[in-house]
């Protein structure tokens, strides 16, 4: 009892134990609609619950067995990883590069920043529609441009291609996100004291050395946050697959989140969807832990 009290007591007059009441609404919602459901996933994953009838029964590990034997776990984890890696690299390299360019005093900086940010305002469903047009074979934007420049013979159809479709979808997410990422990098770069740069220039550092040894270490907080955000968005990959490819061609763009949704709501196998969600949970936790360890180490090095 004493121990529990020691744990909870605030030991302060200004911040009395009464403050605990402030936690209640958020904690209640979060527990009921987020934490409890996560635990329930494990239970549902062992049943043949179909979302309609409530007289489901326990079927042991069958859902997991089917997921494994159908190759769903491997395939959707692989696609999710590719998507995440492409997003993390593409998004951050582009955004960081352009942020460094923009940070040099040039005209039209505000204009460019505004345009780069525009796609971030759009609903993913609108972005999906726009890029369906961009990628459309024959009459879409890229196909028309290729035609106009005389590459008419090329049969452009990236979303219909087994090997490239997942990259095609990841590019859409980069298009939408890199403006935001760039603004975060810009904010980081602007905090750097210009006298530091001047000093290093006097010391004979070239542009590359300034970027590598002064700018990058000084914005390591921005780098960390942007990479973490990209990883989170990558693991959540869903929207553009829902709008543009429905997981196809075949299963080439089935990511974990799309597959869960698809199994739950199109195939109406809530039990199997829960089983895949449990797997996704483990995948995400593993990646998060690896990322945290890696980030800690890197920040120490820089």
């Amino acid at each position: 009892m004493k121990k529990i009290k020691k744990w909870f007591d605030s030991k302060s007059l200004i911040f009395p134990n009464k403050m605990y009441w402030f936690i209640i609404p958020a904690l209640l919602m979060f527990t009921v609609f987020w934490i409890l459901p996560i635990f329930q996933l494990f239970r549902y994953s062992l049943t043949n619950y179909n979302g309609i009838t409530n007289n489901f029964r326990f079927v042991g590990l069958s859902n997991y067995k089917f997921l494994l034997r159908q190759g769903t776990i491997l395939n959707s984890s692989k696609n999710t990883l590719i998507y995440t890696i492409v997003l993390v690299l593409g998004n951050n390299i582009l955004a960081l590069g352009l942020a460094i360019l923009l940070n040099i005093k040039i005209k039209a900086k505000g204009l460019f920043r505004t345009i780069a940010y525009l796609p971030a305002l759009f609903s993913p469903i609108v972005v999906g529609f726009i890029w369906s047009y961009v990628y459309m074979p024959d009459s879409g934007l890229i196909a028309s441009l290729l035609n106009a420049f005389g590459f008419g013979a090329i049969n452009f159809n990236i979303l219909g291609n087994y090997d490239w479709a997942i990259y095609g979808v990841a590019i859409v997410e980069i298009w939408k996100r890199f403006g935001t990422t760039m603004i975060i990098y810009l904010a980081g770069l602007q905090t750097i004291d210009t006298s530091l740069i001047e000093a290093s220039r006097i010391d004979g550092c070239n542009e590359w050395q300034i970027v590598r040894f002064i700018k990058l270490p000084l914005i390591s907080a921005s780098i960390t946050i942007n990479i973490v955000l990209s990883v989170i968005y990558g693991l959540k990959a869903f929207h553009y697959i829902f709008v543009m490819t429905n997981g196809g061609p075949g299963t080439a763009t089935n990511t974990l989140m799309y597959q869960i949704y698809n199994i739950a709501f199109s195939e109406q196998m809530m039990g199997k969807a829960s089983a895949l969600a449990v797997v996704a949970f483990l995948v995400i936790i593993t990646i998060t832990i690896i990322m945290l360890i890696f980030m800690n180490k890197r920040e120490v090095e820089l």
Binding site: V59, S62, F66, N155, G160, G250
Partner: protein
């Protein structure tokens, strides 16, 4: 005595007033259908107009959605108990709107007492029957066949093939002359069923008509040798030889029909339900023909793929069941204006009333085979909904060389077992 008479008169007056009032009440019926609406479309334009003419107090609001969306919308609406009054259902278990699946979940209203049902033979009623009650009206006979460009066949001196080898030879001749032998809109991969079920009708089902039944009770498997592996392998030869090109995976079903209509391809596998689209005028003028795909070996008879097709049903959640029944009664009575217009679309094959002498010469070979018993139903009607989707998905990967035929049948078997577990 007087009092009683007066009272009963009063009662009758009130009763008839109530009945009349109800009858004159404005009713809005909703109908959800799948398919693509064309100009002057039967379901979305003609039917609502004729219903209004016949029953001035009934307004029929009819919506038509592309197949995939139809299934999604139907499922969510059914689950929330606010589906349209009249919906399109499929016989057996075919698709998400299979009549047995829906009836089992109590989502449909029995219509066993409908007089119009007397027009149909036992077969057409059976496939819509669940535990003794009829839940849907047959959409007539549906055919899966091979439409061909008669002029192009004549140009290369080809006649309608009567066995698989002849068929392959015809494809070869067309290909050698620089024509596209077969065009398919495989981007909408359900169209694969159009070819596969025709081949299937000539496969092991001849020897074992109960095969699909045995699949469900576990006596047979998709992976059994000489069953679906043969059917799929046959269909795959068409892709391997580029008789159906890989670019078909970039075409939608509608685009493929357009290419055929424009005279760019010699053949297309499609159903009687798309006959009007196939007949539509394109940029080339040619005569259309229709034959059952002769997937049989030399010297054997060709079997056709003919089935009772999808038709209307009334949902259990409907608030105007009686009005909906009235509309269906008139729609299928055999001589009403609605029935005539329905038949005149040329998409539906019935054998009673006005339709009896209206049969399309294009469909005659199929109807003959059907009556001789040389035909099989569309197989997905007997599979739990989802197996055919798996077949399409895995077969696509087989065409791209990512899976073997055996892996396709394994996938189908796994899917079947899984779906049975969820029943």
């Amino acid at each position: 005595m007087k009092k009683i008479v007066a009272l009963s008169l009063l009662m009758m007056l009130i009763f008839s007033a109530v009945v009349l009032a109800q009858d004159s009440e404005e009713i809005t019926l909703t109908m959800l259908w799948s398919g693509t609406a064309y100009e002057n479309d039967f379901e979305t334009e003609i039917l609502p107009r004729l219903v209004k003419e016949k029953f001035p107090n009934i307004t029929l609001e009819s919506t038509k959605l592309p197949d995939d969306q139809y299934y999604t919308v139907l499922k969510t609406k059914l689950a929330s108990g606010e589906a349209a009054d009249i919906i399109l259902v499929q016989p057996g278990m075919a698709g998400a709107n299979g009549v047995l699946t829906l009836a089992e979940s109590g989502l449909l209203e029995p219509i066993t007492n409908l007089k119009a049902l007397d027009n149909f033979g036992p077969q057409a009623r059976d496939v819509y029957t669940y535990e003794g009650e009829v839940y849907g009206i047959s959409g007539g006979l549906g055919i899966l066949g091979t439409y061909y460009n008669k002029d192009m066949f004549a140009k290369y001196d080809l006649k309608v093939p009567s066995n698989w080898q002849e068929f392959l030879n015809a494809c070869k001749v067309l290909q050698d002359n620089g024509e596209i032998p077969i065009v398919m809109g495989d981007k909408d991969n359900y169209v694969m069923q159009f070819g596969l079920y025709q081949i299937g009708a000539n496969g092991h089902y001849k020897d074992n008509p109960d095969y699909d039944q045995e699949l469900v009770n576990g006596e047979s498997k998709f992976t059994d040798d000489g069953t679906w592996d043969d059917i799929l392998a046959k269909y795959k030869t068409l892709y391997d030889n580029n008789y159906i090109t890989e670019s078909s995976f970039g075409l939608s079903a509608q685009q493929a029909i357009q290419l055929f209509v424009d005279g760019n391809a010699a053949m297309i596998f499609d159903g009687s339900f798309n006959a009007s689209a196939i007949r539509a005028e394109g940029s080339a003028n040619f005569e259309r023909g229709y034959f059952p795909l002769p997937a049989n070996p030399e010297g054997e008879d060709t079997y056709a793929s003919v089935s009772i097709s999808g038709g209307p049903a009334i949902t259990a959640s409907s608030e105007h069941k009686e009005a909906a029944k009235k509309v269906l009664e008139l729609w299928f009575d055999g001589q009403s204006e609605i029935f005539k217009e329905y038949i005149d679309t040329g998409r539906f094959i019935y054998s009673y009333g006005y339709a009896a002498d209206k049969s399309d010469p294009l469909f005659k070979p199929f109807i003959d085979l059907y009556q001789e018993g040389k035909s099989f139903y569309w197989f997905n009607q007997q599979w739990p909904s989802g197996v055919n989707d798996q077949m399409q998905e895995s077969f696509t990967e087989a065409v791209y060389g990512r899976k073997t035929i055996d892996e396709v049948t394994e996938d189908m078997q796994l899917k079947l077992e899984e779906l049975l577990m969820y029943q």
